[in-house]
């Protein structure tokens, strides 16, 4: 595996456009949450009697930031799509195999980036939460509710898994990005609403929605919660199964198809 990572590093280290995209993603997480923290702190200070909770204070901050960042997984999915589709554009996926990689190794090399970008999102989120919590909070540092960040990590893994699957299926960066954004921003949202309206909480079991069900925004989530809501364990299990399914489908596609 180290040999695969070394080769991937040789490919990507000089790729400036990729690092700019990753840099933006890393910068937007604290910036977006800073705005959210500023707004919520003003709301809390003006409505002290009505809303007694501060979303950007410990321990609620872990849940708040996980929820806010779950809307921004595309920041890391787009560089992921570009990394994968570049191989098809340049036909280097063929050359890597010709030069002596197993097809399985080619997929594993790409999954390294899937994992690395997901962990980077997780790490950036953790550090952002620590800094904002200490800056805006009145409570001391607490890791209570930290499990929400693990739910966020799983949702990022799934979101990047969906992006990778779309990338290996359509092979063109522009089309893959459009299809991915359409899916996460429109298609799944519409399906969730339709299913929830007609069939109940089963709509919450769609891929990215499983993560959303696990990470409602504090207070607001509780207000919207309904009695049909499954146990968190169900959403967690289904979310993990979706991640496994995406990886399986990526492998299946890349092992069987002509390059």
């Amino acid at each position: 595996m180290l040999h695969l990572i070394r080769t991937e590093w040789l490919k990507i280290k000089p790729y400036r456009a990729f690092w700019v995209m990753v840099g933006l993603a890393v910068a937007i997480i604290p910036a977006g949450n800073y705005i959210a923290a500023e707004i919520t702190s003003q709301i809390v200070s003006k409505t002290k009697e009505l809303i007694a909770v501060a979303p950007y204070d410990f321990p609620l901050i872990w849940q708040s930031i996980a929820n806010v960042n779950s809307y921004m997984t595309a920041l890391f999915a787009i560089p992921m799509i570009i990394l994968v589709t570049n191989e098809f554009t340049y036909k280097t996926h063929r050359q890597n195999i010709i030069d002596g990689w197993e097809r399985r190794e080619f997929v594993l090399a790409k999954l390294f980036w899937w994992l690395a970008l997901s962990l980077l999102a997780f790490l950036t989120t953790t550090i952002t939460a620590l800094v904002l919590g200490l800056a805006y909070g009145t409570h001391p540092l607490s890791f209570e509710n930290f499990e929400y960040l693990f739910y966020y990590l799983l949702q990022v893994l799934l979101s990047l898994g969906i992006a990778t699957l779309i990338a290996v299926l359509v092979r063109r960066s522009g089309l893959a990005i459009v299809l991915y954004l359409c899916y996460i921003m429109i298609v799944e949202q519409v399906l969730v609403l339709v299913l929830k309206r007609n069939f109940g909480e089963i709509g919450g079991l769609l891929p990215l929605q499983t993560g959303d069900e696990l990470m409602p925004f504090p207070v607001v989530g509780k207000l919207l919660n309904n009695a049909d809501h499954y146990d968190d364990g169900v959403y967690l299990l289904i979310l993990c199964l979706y991640i496994g399914l995406m990886i399986f489908l990526v492998f299946r596609r890349m092992l069987k198809t002509d390059y």
Partner: protein
């Protein structure tokens, strides 16, 4: 030990049968040409050998063992077009190739020098001309001085000097005992550099074997006199006469055995015909190839 042994390889793309039960062996140390017109299945065949395409049926062995990635690391391959990362320099692209082949990269300066790219090694691939891209692909194929080279149309995009250099390089490599599998639609390229050849047409193997046995070209004599109609009837009486290929401008006559031009000239004079044109020629390679593919 055959370097490559193909058994009954078939491949279909939808309605098109790209390869149909192809079997042949590439002996060690051969410069093996895979010859065929565009679309005959050459690249598909090499794609299957390098695992970028999956055969529908059939098996093959590479370096006397079932195919695997570790064997491909020991083979230098240029398949169809140069495939490199556009944003990386030539040197960085070769570093990637060397890393996949599990080599140190020490050989990179040598192959860049052979390809004549040392001066431009730090330029990005996207700034290269077509010929430079092809040279870089040849350099990549030679990384680590592999014992076996697979070259698919290696002179594509090169200028005449580049073509001559690559052919010379292939001959030099062949002299060092390397096995070279060369796919080409250029007949003279195959004839000039190959020891063995397999001819493909519409996915079927027509012939394979040593070049001088597969691409047999008959000698013919080109002659003319003031009255070619009379010459035609007279020459058909020659004891060694076999057949006439063409009677346009000059008569092109094939004899059953080689005839000495001076003797032939004297024989015609004895028949009262004074030749004004007499030339012994070889059938063109194109004609020999067309005869094989038409049959």
């Amino acid at each position: 030990m055959p370097i490559l042994s193909l058994q009954n390889i078939s491949k279909r793309y939808g309605a098109i049968q790209a390869l149909s039960g192809v079997s042949f062996e590439v002996p060690k140390g051969a410069v093996f040409g895979i010859l065929g017109p565009n679309g005959s299945g050459k690249t598909t065949l090499l794609g299957i050998v390098t695992d970028v395409l999956k055969a529908d049926t059939g098996t093959f062995t590479l370096l006397d063992a079932p195919p695997a990635a570790r064997q491909r690391q020991r083979i230098g391959t240029l398949l169809e077009t140069p495939n490199f990362y556009h944003y990386l320099s030539a040197y960085q692209n070769l570093q990637v190739a060397a890393s996949i082949k599990q080599q140190s990269g020490q050989d990179i300066p040598r192959v860049l020098d052979i390809a004549g790219l040392t001066a431009r090694q730090h330029s990005r691939f996207k700034t290269y001309s077509l010929g430079m891209k092809q040279r870089l692909a040849i350099a990549a194929a030679m990384l680590g001085d592999p014992e076996v080279l697979i070259l698919d149309e290696p002179t594509n995009g090169l200028d005449p000097a580049g073509i001559a250099e690559v052919r010379q390089l292939i001959q030099q490599l062949a002299q060092t005992g390397k096995t070279i599998i060369l796919a080409s639609h250029l007949l003279d390229e195959v004839e000039k550099v190959c020891t063995h050849v397999a001819i493909l047409q519409k996915g079927k193997l027509l012939l394979s074997g040593p070049v001088n046995q597969v691409l047999v070209r008959e000698d013919f004599v080109e002659l003319s006199c003031n009255d070619n109609t009379k010459l035609m009837s007279v020459i058909s009486q020659h004891p060694a006469f076999d057949h006439i290929i063409s009677s346009q401008e000059h008569l092109q006559v094939v004899f059953k055995q080689p005839v000495d031009p001076a003797t032939l000239n004297a024989w015609c004079a004895d028949q009262g015909l004074w030749l004004n044109h007499l030339y012994t020629r070889k059938q063109s390679l194109e004609k020999a190839f067309l005869q094989i593919t038409n049959n």
